[in-house]
């Protein structure tokens, strides 16, 4: 769920690469770093 208290949070597609292969997941990261 969207962290409600802080609008600076953004959804990000994040790449994961394990021994079984590469895939992506949707996570929340602070948008501070732009």
């Amino acid at each position: 769920h969207m962290p409600s208290s802080n609008k600076k949070w953004e959804q990000k597609q994040v790449q994961i690469k394990t021994l079984e292969g590469e895939f992506s997941v949707t996570m929340w990261a602070s948008g501070d770093d732009k």
Binding site: H1, P3, N6, K8, W9, K12, V14, Q15, I16, K17, T18, L19, E20, G21, E22, F23, V25, T26, M27, W28, A29, S30, G31, D32, D33
Partner: protein, 445 residues
């Protein structure tokens, strides 16, 4: 190498926190430390990529871990897949260069390998990770560069000239040169030092530190050669500073006292005793300097010639109106010669003096977030080169009583909540500076 050595010497905060069931003061409480402004975005449940230490491979591999507990900069991490099993949990400083946002391994070509203890727990790790990670939080991408920016972004560099309180006689200032800067803390060598080790440590935002020319400008006593004094005049009036001089713009802007009210010589108040920081004492305004600075003396002091008078700005959070201790249930240290119980009403009458108007102490109380019992790293202001394991013992508005773990309460020190001498757990480790662990009491048979 030096940093690594200090890391080894560093105190084991992790087991101390778990053993004492204490809470660490959140990093956001300390406005003067790196990433304080974005710490609100760091939370329990957050996922990161870290080295997988539960592994027999010779090359460095990584795995995803969850923040289980936070204590200052330090986090207790649990590798993904362990569920409620904490056997391989470990503490790490979240500002360490080997803590990464999820996704870093894929973009850096680093392998993600599950820990060997749980390697066979799931047949399909991909499916498991998608479920665990989707919708969770991770670190901002540039978190580590923000940490680095916070560590090195200081205007004070080695060889900067300053004026700083004389540690041997607190009523006077001396000229000093910055020898070293560690996380905004300055190691200062007095320019007139006659012996090795005649040094002083203070933070660059400390109220004890001032620009070149400050003492003569406000009328504060200064131990300095005539040549320095003559140069100061042209420096402050013509703004002709040397390149290595600390200038007024490098210091925090002081607030103005409430309009229409002024401190006057003889007015009584309560003040933290600069030579015994665990005591709040009956005090007097001994001198009014320029730019709203005051020389405060502790009533009943036996020091000669005002050598223990101390300079406080009129808006300092370390001076209080008459009755402050009584209102807040604190012990007020009366003048030395007091017989029986001390009563302000009788004392003012007896000394024919007046209390400084309460309006002068109209200080806002910031939402600082400190609570009693919270652990932190605090400078021992009586030996300011030392940073010690400490606990917030009491909170009175914006005033904190800092207890040094393992020491008796008579060594406690009162400090303001915005003091730059307070740091979150893990600050020393981050800066490669040793932290003094709690005093271990030796049992006498």
């Amino acid at each position: 190498g030096n940093t690594k050595q200090n890391m080894i010497r560093s105190f084991d905060w992790g087991s101390y926190i778990l053993g004492s069931h204490a809470e660490g003061s959140p990093v956001a409480c300390f406005k003067h430390v790196p990433v304080s402004d974005c710490w609100e975005n760091i939370s329990i449940g957050m996922k990161v990529e870290v080295q997988n230490l539960d592994c027999d491979l010779t090359n460095t591999v990584y795995w995803i871990a969850t923040v289980m507990k936070l204590a200052g900069y330090k986090a207790l991490l649990r590798y993904e897949g362990f569920g409620s099993d904490g056997q391989k949990d470990f503490w790490i400083n979240l500002c360490h260069k080997d803590v990464h946002p999820v996704g870093w391994c894929a973009t850096s070509g680093k392998p993600l390998v599950p820990p060997k203890t749980i390697q066979h727990k799931y047949a399909d790790w991909k499916d498991y990770l998608v479920k665990r990670l989707t919708g969770s939080r991770t670190l901002p991408i540039h978190f580590y560069s923000k940490v680095q920016e916070g560590i090195s972004n200081h205007r004070f560099v080695k060889s900067t000239h300053v004026e700083v309180v004389n540690r041997m006689c607190v009523s006077s200032m001396r000229v000093a040169t910055v020898e070293e800067v560690i996380g905004g803390r300055l190691r200062l060598k007095y320019d007139d030092a006659k012996e090795e080790g005649d040094e002083f440590w203070c933070h660059m935002r400390s109220a004890l530190l001032h620009p070149v020319g400050w003492s003569l400008q406000v009328g504060h006593k200064l131990h300095a050669p005539q040549e320095y004094r003559s140069q100061c005049l042209s420096k402050t009036t013509m703004q002709k500073y040397d390149v290595m001089d600390a200038t007024p713009d490098m210091f925090p802007q002081m607030k103005n006292p409430p309009e229409g009210y002024k401190f006057q010589v003889g007015m009584k108040l309560e003040a933290i005793d600069p030579l015994n920081l665990s005591a709040i004492c009956v005090a007097s305004v001994m001198k009014v300097l320029k730019n709203n600075y005051l020389m405060i003396g502790i009533d009943g002091s036996i020091a000669q010639n005002g050598s223990d008078w101390f300079c406080y700005h009129a808006t300092s959070p370390c001076i209080f109106p008459v009755g402050f201790c009584e209102v807040n249930g604190l012990i007020l240290t009366p003048p030395r010669e007091t017989k029986g119980s001390f009563k302000w009403f009788d004392y003012l009458k007896q000394t024919r003096s007046v209390a400084a108007p309460v309006k002068l102490f109209d200080k806002e109380i910031p939402k600082h977030g400190f609570k009693p019992g919270m652990k932190l790293e605090a400078v021992d202001l009586m030996e300011p080169r030392l940073i010690c394991v400490a606990t917030v013992a009491k909170v009175v508005g914006r005033l904190l009583r800092i207890h040094f773990d393992g020491w008796e309460s008579e060594y406690d020190q009162w400090v303001d909540c915005e003091s730059p001498d307070l740091y979150p757990i893990g600050w020393c480790e981050l800066m490669g500076y040793p932290v003094e662990g709690p005093r271990l009491k030796t049992e006498v048979p």
